[in-house]
Amino acid sequence: MRLKTLLMAGAALTLVAPAAMAERGADGQLNIIYWQAPSTMNPFLSGGTKEVEASSMVIEPLARFSDTGEIVPILAESIPTTDNGGVSADLRTITWKLKPGLLWSDGTPVTAADGVFTYEYCTHPEGGCAQSSYFEGIASMEAVDDLTLKITFTEPKPFPYTALVGSESPIIQKSQFENCIGARAPECTEQNFNPIGTGPFRVTEFRANDVISLEANPNYRDPAKPAFASVLFKGGGDAESAARSVLQTGEFDYAWNLQISPEVLTEMEAAGRGKVVVAFATSVERIHVNFTNPDPALGPDERSVWKEDGSNAHPILSDIRVRKALSMAIDPVILTEIGYGPTGRPTCNVLPGPEIYASTANDACLVQDIEGAKALLDEAGWIDSDGDGVREKDGKELSLLYQTSTNAVRQQFQSLIKQWWGEIGVETELRNISASVFFGGDPASPDTFQKFYADVEMYTNNFSGVDPEAYMANWICNKAPRPSTQWQGENITRWCNPEYDALAAEFSKTAGLEARADIAKRMNDMLMQDYAMIPLVHRGGTSAHANTLAGVKINDWDSELWNIADWHRVK
């Protein structure tokens, strides 16, 4: 599959309407439940998934990613490429053409100036825009004419589809937000709750963290859509009861993000009112191995701090044989079956998709090998000499502190892995930390995932969109969190390999999908074969919809509600 054909196919796709010719608003009300309620409709002020998805019904980008991960034009007429001249040969500019005749929901025309304004709004230094990374590397953005938007990059950009692409960076209306730029952004409550958009619906009432009422946008570009006259978007509660309200009581039509025990989900689905749908993108649940010494006896400038000269290495885990043994003792297949069922797949890669980037070189990890792990630990000099079931070396016990956030599935994974590691003579102390602390960036807290005051820790990470360049750059040496960076940085494992850093630099300069895929796979394999992380499960986005709702194409690359204009009632 080449990028060009992908793009063309995507463009063609949108022209074929899956729904039968219907009348706008003919299907009455659509009830959606998100167990985390959106707090605003402005995704630039809150980057949470729930806010991004809710606002995707109202405001739209130039292009977005379809359920198969292809780029499809939304407000743009087509996707610019080097072949059609939309992207310059030196990869420094991209020129988008808007569809002619587009109207905002208040009836005024959409122009390229709105796109430029969005860029200015999000890059204002005092605005605190949550999506500003989408606008990185842009030298200027200009409206050539009413329908032409030209973006110039500071350096050649092999993958230029970031700004104003995908539901995280949609276009907002200039005349509505003109006075809300910079420090004034948070004061514009009315605008942030009721943005004027181009999407199939518009807000009639927004109750923060509770419920959103929407109605069909009278100025939507397709006169036959959306099929629903109104949407009730309810939030709050927990995933389990959200699933129940769709699958068992039938009060709602669509429920989002149902991470609950697979057997419970299967039982609910058996009631026959609705079905569970899954889409896979790039989320991987993995164990991070600490390459630095987290000994509590060390001071704050030493404990879990990466040193450029390679000192302060982890006393146990810096030996690759130990890391490999820990990985061999784990059975990702059983973990997936217990924790995720059909909504997850066992994986051996930290970069599981899009398909073209997925490596197959590490698949041996899927098979558990307890005996092999024991032999490896023996070889590494870890022997149980005092017969207490725990191996020692030089008077030090092979004992690890294993932390993660509080979450029913994660605690089950902890128990399972503790048992397996126990079988190979590794003692494990478990700790779980409230998610709001664990994922918080408070440099004063000892319990954040960045500080990593533990030997191993487990969580899920992913990247948005389809291009892994920024994601794979997470593991370069100087991205290790440390006091001098206020403990910020994505290289949580503190793994460091100059060869990898060189590959990351090469990646950012390489154009052409195949060459890029080759580099990405090599980087993935380098991480996996050094056991810097132990990948466990490739997690899918899981939702449920009522049997009476048709047109749902669940999408983990973009907003799940990306094609809500096509949703309709089964008659």
Partner: protein
């Protein structure tokens, strides 16, 4: 309860020992109380001696027998990762009973102490009641997060991972739940200290400590006993919610409250996961309540000998 009666004990013993004989006779005649003692005793024995008979490791994950129905090997069935529910309920009971009773004792002792002082001494009333208002107003969750931040690592190194956390949990529950008892006791004491028998005791020059222990405490015993019953239930449930903040016991350490919480989604699939821990909590609270009832009646001289 022990704290409340302890105050009256030395006084009574110094006079004639047969008083406690009377109390014991009266207590034994109380059928509800004896049933309570029997049930509570059974729970304690089952929880502490049961693991000697049913020797399955509560943490062993039997991956081939997940969500299993009750059988000889697993009398209460297994959960969704193949842990034996019977063994978990027993192991959880050891922790929950210890936490429940210890935390309740702290909260009752603190509440009764502050309540009596505030009610009896007018000078202390204002300050102590404003302190109570403060504790009532503090948002519990952020408070707990701060406590973990400040004390977890210190306690962990001083008492080990489990001992340190036990101490932390018990103290945290105790110091965040004494306010209701304190306000109730104070309200009662305010009324009691104006009654004739207290005035009479004062007029013959009885010392204040003696008035409090001999005249006031026995008369506020019933609301304290009710608070104690509710306190045990509260502590057992609160412990389970603490574990979601990372303050509770490590995730491989079962307690009744956590078993109930983890099992609730499996209500229709493996009902044993909620029935057994739920039943254990209810029976514990019920039996403690009946013991409290019997104790109250036995200590009330107007009922005794009736």
């Amino acid at each position: 309860m022990t704290d409340a009666t302890a105050g009256a004990a030395p006084v009574a013993q110094s006079r004639h020992r047969s008083l406690w004989g009377d109390v014991w006779r009266q207590f034994r005649a109380h059928r509800g109380a004896m049933a309570g003692v029997a049930v509570f005793g059974f729970i304690v024995i089952a929880v502490f001696l049961g693991p000697l008979i049913h020797t399955v490791d509560p943490q062993y994950l039997d991956l081939r027998a997940r969500n299993a129905p009750p059988s000889w090997a697993h009398p209460f069935g297994t959960d969704n990762v193949g842990r034996d529910i019977a063994a978990q309920v027993m192991a959880g009971g050891q922790t929950s009973l210890a936490v429940g009773i210890a935390a309740m004792a702290i909260s009752i002792a603190l509440g009764a102490f502050i309540g009596v002082l505030a009610g009896y001494f007018k000078l202390l009333d204002g300050a102590l009641m404003r302190l109570t208002d403060l504790f009532l107003a503090l948002p519990i969750l952020p408070l707990l997060l701060v406590i973990i931040l400040l004390f977890r690592d210190t306690l962990r190194s001083a008492f080990g991972p489990e001992g340190g956390i036990f101490l932390l949990i018990v103290v945290v529950i105790g110091i965040t739940s004494w306010m209701q008892t304190a306000r109730i006791v104070r309200g009662e004491v305010l009324a009691l200290k104006e009654r004739e028998f207290v005035l009479a005791a004062k007029s013959i020059g009885t010392r204040e400590r003696r008035i409090i222990t001999r005249h006031l405490l026995p008369n506020v015993l019933s609301p304290i006993l009710v608070s104690a019953t509710i306190g045990i239930a509260n502590a057992i449930i609160t412990e389970s919610s603490l574990s979601f903040l990372g303050l509770g016991f490590p995730p491989d350490f079962p307690t009744w409250g956590r078993l109930l919480y983890d099992g609730k989604d499996f209500l229709t699939l493996t009902p044993g996961r909620v029935i057994w821990p739920g039943l254990a909590i209810s029976l514990t609270v019920l039996s403690v309540n009946f013991i409290g009832d019997g104790l109250r009646d036995a200590l009330d001289p107007r009922i005794r000998g009736r």
